[in-house]
């Protein structure tokens, strides 16, 4: 089945107000930014967003006014933002409800959803406030069928004799309505290939009822099948395939382009000011028709500087000061 469609259609069909969603990538790498901008453009609200360290896309969805609840491990962008500022401001203003986990806990929660088990165990967080302090009110947990009644729980290890582990934290599965993943290559049926680190994208996709794949290149199935060992997303979990060149910009896409340090530094500045940020959302996102138009506004001098060196996969000697 040919699942290709426009980004507009994919977002209209699979991301609705109040959807529970996750996006792929990590901090400044391979976020599905074109889809993030399209969600903001379409004015989606009340999203429940699940993230480990999904970075730039998380901050822009918050800044765009789309997110009501956030389960997250890390709201930063490396050296560009030790804490992402729209995230910080929304939490401090009380307009964004947050539930904190660790990166491994969030990864395990996506894995649990992918595996079809209600929870997975880990030693991570024993004795911490991640276990002790809960963010969402119990009424929300009880009234919302997409989230479990408990944030997590601690249990005694029932197996003795071959381990010194006495207790584990059980973290509950995540089941999103939709996961959006940006990849280097996909075919029309949804088989996809990620180059470089996959982060938790594959588990995020498998934990979701629906999956949107945006890709740099749409390729023939036979091209991907020549070396299936490199493919990671099976076609039967995918609902929409959307070719979007530079679909991860301003974050990096290994082998294609680097993150844009100029844009990210500019973003860090304007995200510190409410008025400047509102202008940015209006002019760059709501005021553009699609990702190509966004790119023209965000990188008026073009994208040559960040094009990846074919040998290294990133832009060598890029000025990142």
């Amino acid at each position: 089945m040919d699942k290709t469609m426009s980004l507009r259609e994919a977002v209209q069909r699979f991301v609705t107000d109040g959807s529970h969603i996750s996006i792929g990538g990590f901090t400044i790498n391979r976020n599905p930014m074109a889809a993030v901008y399209e969600i903001i453009r379409q004015g989606r609200q009340g999203l429940h967003l699940y993230a480990h360290s999904n970075g730039q896309g998380v901050d822009e969805l918050i800044g765009g006014g789309c997110v009501q609840r956030l389960e997250i491990a890390y709201g930063g962008s490396g050296r560009f933002a030790s804490t992402c500022l729209r995230f910080r401001k929304a939490v401090q203003a009380g307009t964004l409800a947050v539930e904190d986990y660790s990166n491994y806990q969030m990864s395990l929660r996506f894995l649990a959803g992918a595996m079809g088990v209600p929870f997975l165990p880990t030693r991570s967080g024993l004795g911490s406030d991640i276990v002790a302090k809960w963010g969402f009110p119990p009424e929300y947990r009880q009234s919302e069928p997409r989230v479990p009644d408990q944030k997590l729980c601690v249990m005694d290890n029932p197996f003795t004799g071959h381990t010194d582990v006495r207790k584990v934290v059980l973290v509950p599965a995540i089941h999103t309505d939709v996961a959006i993943i940006h990849v280097q290559q996909a075919d029309r049926q949804g088989t996809a290939r990620i180059r470089g680190l996959p982060f938790v994208d594959v588990e995020q996709a498998k934990a979701s009822a629906h999956v949107i794949i945006t890709c740099e290149e749409l390729v023939a199935s036979e091209v991907l099948r020549e070396n299936a060992d490199l493919n990671c997303i099976p076609p039967f979990i995918v609902d929409a395939v959307v070719p979007v060149p530079y679909g991860a910009y301003p974050t990096a896409c290994y082998g294609h382009y680097d993150y844009d340090p100029v844009f990210l530094k500019h973003y860090a500045e304007l995200s510190a000011e409410d008025a400047a940020y509102a202008d940015y959302v209006e002019s760059h996102i709501r005021g553009t028709a699609d990702h190509a138009a966004f790119l023209e506004r965000a990188a008026p001098d073009g994208l040559e500087a960040i094009l990846a060196n074919p040998e290294t996969g990133y832009a060598r000697n890029l000025d990142r000061r």
Binding site: N29, T83, D100, D129, A132
Partner: protein
């Protein structure tokens, strides 16, 4: 003094890395420390990132652990699940040195990187755990980088993100954390250790030119300074590697 406190911090950490260590690091000084160790004293140590990159070549300095520069010519490009499993694993976890930072630290090496103020409505919101709580829970040796300020060295954390020795003594073990715990804290002034019994922080080694009183004055809780020794300054060779090999653009050293 022909070196900066940042350079001293990186060198102090790099000296503790051994040849068969697997070094978990973030970006910033921790990465410089790991890179310096590989070039000086621990050539076979392996650097890995929570994002899943194992034994990255680091031809250029990454500015985030998700930077594509961590993916180049690695041994394996795994996932986050793989990297944290390496730390929780009973065999490999014992060899992992984790390097962390935080907004606040308490006398038992517990870390806060989540909020200042009340969790439900914080005065300041930070990034959150990321992988820090995982590393702190799993690995055998944790090294913590901090700026030495009273408001950062506090008696009681606003939020305990990453478990250290918890309430000291055997409380970490009792909570179910059967391995690991903080080994040292490295600041712009000194190196702190943890007492083997009480697991309370003490002043272990002072940088050249720093007095014990400076450390006491910048620590928000009482700290034992009686066991303190001087730390050797960076050697010329250590500085050369750090500056010319690891960070020639001074992206991190500033």
């Amino acid at each position: 003094m022909n070196y900066t406190p940042k350079e001293m911090m990186a060198i102090a950490a790099s000296r503790t890395i051994r040849n068969d260590d697997i070094v978990f690091c973030g970006t910033g000084i921790s990465m410089l420390a790991a890179m310096a160790a590989k070039h000086i004293s621990a050539p076979e140590s392996v650097i890995f990132f929570e994002t899943g990159a194992i034994d990255s070549r680091l031809a250029e300095l990454p500015l985030a652990v998700g930077d594509p520069r961590v993916m180049y010519r690695t041994a394996v490009n795994g996932s986050l699940l793989d990297s944290f499993a390496t730390m929780q694993n009973r065999t490999t976890g014992k060899r992992v040195v984790g390097i962390l930072g935080a907004a606040q630290i308490d006398p038992y090496g517990n870390l806060n990187s989540t909020v200042i103020g009340d969790y439900a409505r914080p005065k300041v919101r930070f990034s959150g755990s990321g992988g820090a709580a995982d590393v702190a829970s799993f690995v055998d040796r944790t090294i913590i980088f901090m700026q030495h300020e009273k408001r950062k060295f506090v008696s009681r954390l606003d939020y305990l993100t990453s478990p250290g020795w918890l309430d000291g003594g055997d409380s970490r073990h009792k909570q179910g954390l059967c391995r690991g715990g903080p080994a040292m804290v490295i600041t712009n002034l000194a190196v702190m250790g943890f007492d083997p019994q009480s697991h309370r922080m003490f002043l272990q080694a002072l940088y050249p030119g720093v007095a014990a009183a400076d450390v006491v004055a910048n620590t928000g809780f009482s700290i034992d300074a009686t066991r303190c020794v001087p730390l050797a300054p960076p050697s010329a060779e250590e500085l050369r590697v750090l500056r010319d090999v690891c960070d020639p653009q001074r992206l991190i050293l500033g």
